[in-house]
């Protein structure tokens, strides 16, 4: 095989390998494993709620898009279809209680359903913001 052909073949192989790696690790990269991630912030659930309630814009800049771990007294666990939501309740608003709503990672839903209302619990999740009634955490897990 002539040298120039070997060089072109070499570049082609490198190009194919690069394309496969880009496809696997960039285009098809997996979602973050929020259960294993360390929290960016750790605080009492009441403090997180108060922060958003009293200083919404500043709290949005601080906590939106971050992993937050909160501890507090569980109000209830809601289960609807395949969704399980752990609820911390702090005030009464126009349409019921207001606080923090934590959507559990699907594979951890069973575990969340066994949590006892009025008991203390630590939850970690990805903060998506405050919708003027509740602070919302997604991809949540119970922390032991």
């Amino acid at each position: 095989m002539k040298t120039w052909m070997k060089v072109i073949a070499g570049f082609a192989v490198v190009g194919i390998i690069a394309a496969v790696l880009i496809f696997k690790f960039v285009v098809n990269k997996p979602h973050p494993d929020y259960e294993k991630m360390s929290p960016d912030y750790t605080m009492h659930a009441q403090d997180l709620y108060n922060a958003f309630k009293n200083k919404k814009d500043a709290s949005s800049k601080l906590y939106n898009g971050k992993v937050v771990q909160i501890d507090g007294t569980l109000a209830r666990v809601e289960a609807k279809d395949s969704l399980v939501i752990v609820v911390f309740s702090f005030t009464q608003g126009m349409f019921g209680d207001e606080g923090i709503r934590c959507t559990m990672i699907k594979k951890l839903s069973g575990e969340a359903k066994s949590l006892v209302p009025s008991g203390s619990v630590k939850i970690k999740g990805y903060c998506t913001g405050y919708n003027d009634t509740d602070v919302i955490l997604e991809q949540c897990s119970v922390v032991y």
Binding site: V27, N28, S60, K61, G65, K80, M94, F95, D132, D134
Partner: protein, 184 residues
């Protein structure tokens, strides 16, 4: 300003509860779907706040943009960082009315066609929208479903030329909310 308008409408819903009945949910669902030339893109949001008054027909919903879940992590990242810029515009809201509220009998189980009109605000831009759908009444629960299309450019959502063929110019938005009677 929009936050105050949203809260004012919520207060109006609360006070108009004296005349009608308020139905609410915090677990409403919104799905958007785009069929581009190369791929189909779908995202779901299961934490939609919605409220409706059965007398006035006032209907509102609010959704956090970062709560939309995509199958592909990279698409979710592009959606938040580049398209809807969710750090700058964290929520989308709809403030409107069920235009034919009188045609919906909330005291009798059944399926009722409905037309909802109002202002949809996404990415800091508001436009009038109209959607047709149904209200399924079953005792104290009303399931509302509607579908409409959103043209991304109308809301200043710019798709980079490199991926523009991946995303349809108008995406299909499906709203599915199970509203429960709110007894204060």
């Amino acid at each position: 300003m929009r936050k105050f308008i949203f809260i004012a409408v919520l207060a109006l819903l609360c006070s108009s509860g004296l005349l009608g009945q308020n139905f609410v949910t915090k677990n409403g669902n919104i799905r958007f779907y785009s069929e581009g030339k190369i791929e189909k893109i779908e995202a779901m949001n299961h934490q939609v706040n919605a409220a409706m008054n059965s007398q006035t027909g006032d209907f509102v919903f609010k959704v956090l943009m970062k709560s939309f879940q995509f199958e592909k992590a990279l698409m979710q990242e592009h959606f938040n960082e580049n398209y809807v810029e969710s750090d700058k515009f964290p929520t989308a809201t709809f403030l409107g009315k069920v235009a034919n509220i009188k045609d919906v009998n909330f005291t009798k189980d059944g399926s009722y066609p409905a037309t909802v009109e109002g202002k949809l605000t996404i990415h800091g831009v508001s436009h009038d929208v109209k959607a047709t759908g149904t209200f399924e009444v079953k005792k104290d629960v009303v399931q509302g479903k509607a579908k409409f299309f959103v043209t991304l450019a109308d809301y200043n959502i710019n798709i980079p030329s490199a991926v523009v063929s991946n995303i349809a110019k108008a995406v299909e938005v499906t709203v599915d909310v199970t509203l429960e009677k709110f007894n204060k």
